[in-house]
């Protein structure tokens, strides 16, 4: 996994990009950010030490797959009122998508991402960034700055058009 901060920053990038087309998304940005760390919620198992974490690994492993994370997103969506559920589901899913996409490029000690579980236990990924390395964090920070500037630019253009 990439570190939590990188995941949150990439979630923020997703919020910025989505809000360029759908401005309402910014109001619900917390959902994308929560989605961006959702597949890692099993990480609290490390508090039980290496042995405990290894034993519980497979219980939480499905959360790092497309099917498992979508089921979790579905469960969380049910906490929200009917009229918001579609937005909640889409925003949480956007966050989860950034998480799984980011982890695809991490060099893991424990293998890679079981993206297509339960159809296969095979893990996939492309070794590009070290876990907790500076590289990915810097890329995420630059992406946040670029997308924030881009959104501001779009907002200014729209404001100017309105004034004209």
């Amino acid at each position: 996994m990439a570190d939590g901060l990188t995941h949150v920053l990439l979630g923020w990038v997703a919020v910025e990009l989505i809000s360029i087309k759908y401005p309402w998304a910014m109001k619900y940005r917390a959902l994308v950010l929560v989605g961006a760390i959702l597949p890692d919620i099993g990480n609290f198992a490390v508090l039980m030490g290496e042995t405990g974490a290894n034993e519980l690994y497979y219980l939480f492993m499905p959360l790092h797959s497309i099917v498992g994370s979508l089921l979790l997103v579905g469960v969380l969506t049910m906490i929200f009122k009917e009229e918001y559920r579609k937005k909640v589901f889409l925003l949480l899913t956007a966050g989860v998508a950034t998480h799984l996409a980011a982890d695809y490029f991490i060099i893991f000690l424990d293998g890679k991402v079981p993206l297509f579980f339960p159809f296969t236990f095979e893990k996939v990924g492309y070794d590009l960034f070290l876990q907790a390395g500076r590289g990915f964090l810097i890329v995420a920070l630059v992406a946040v700055v670029v997308t924030v500037l881009r959104r501001k630019q779009v907002e200014r253009k729209l404001k100017n058009l309105d004034e004209k």
Partner: protein, 163 residues
Amino acid sequence: MDDRRYGVPREIISVVLLAGLVSLSVYAYVFGPMESPTTIEVLRNPEVHEGKRVEMRGEVVRSEIADGVLYMGLEKHGRSFEVYYEIQEEEEEWLEEIEEGDTARFLGTVRIASEGRVEGEEMYYRSARRQKTLGVLSFLGVVVIAAVIYIDRETLKEMIVDG
């Protein structure tokens, strides 16, 4: 507003989704391919595993790179073994960072079982230093999310089902 989707109560949908999630976890727990054979099994009976591809993990007690080959002494539950791994060009930079106390995972073939030597095919390591960084950065990530949730609390409260 009637809190139903196509006539199905919210509770039923929640239970079905939750059951699906739990089923996946149980399926993964029961049928997930465990580390086989385990590092300790290999170290206890090295001769049985000679020539076989194994996965081993251990704590780094010694690390040295010479002529493009990484030699490492690893230890697991008090038992030590040696691994050697031909470094790929692109890996050189990050494998040089290995320090004592790091955790290494090794996919390789047991060559000289009696001496507990393993020739690697794939090599990953988790730096103790990086693990601390990972913990700090992950904590910062949680802080950012908590702050955003706090700022947007009224909006979120309004969205959540009452009771």
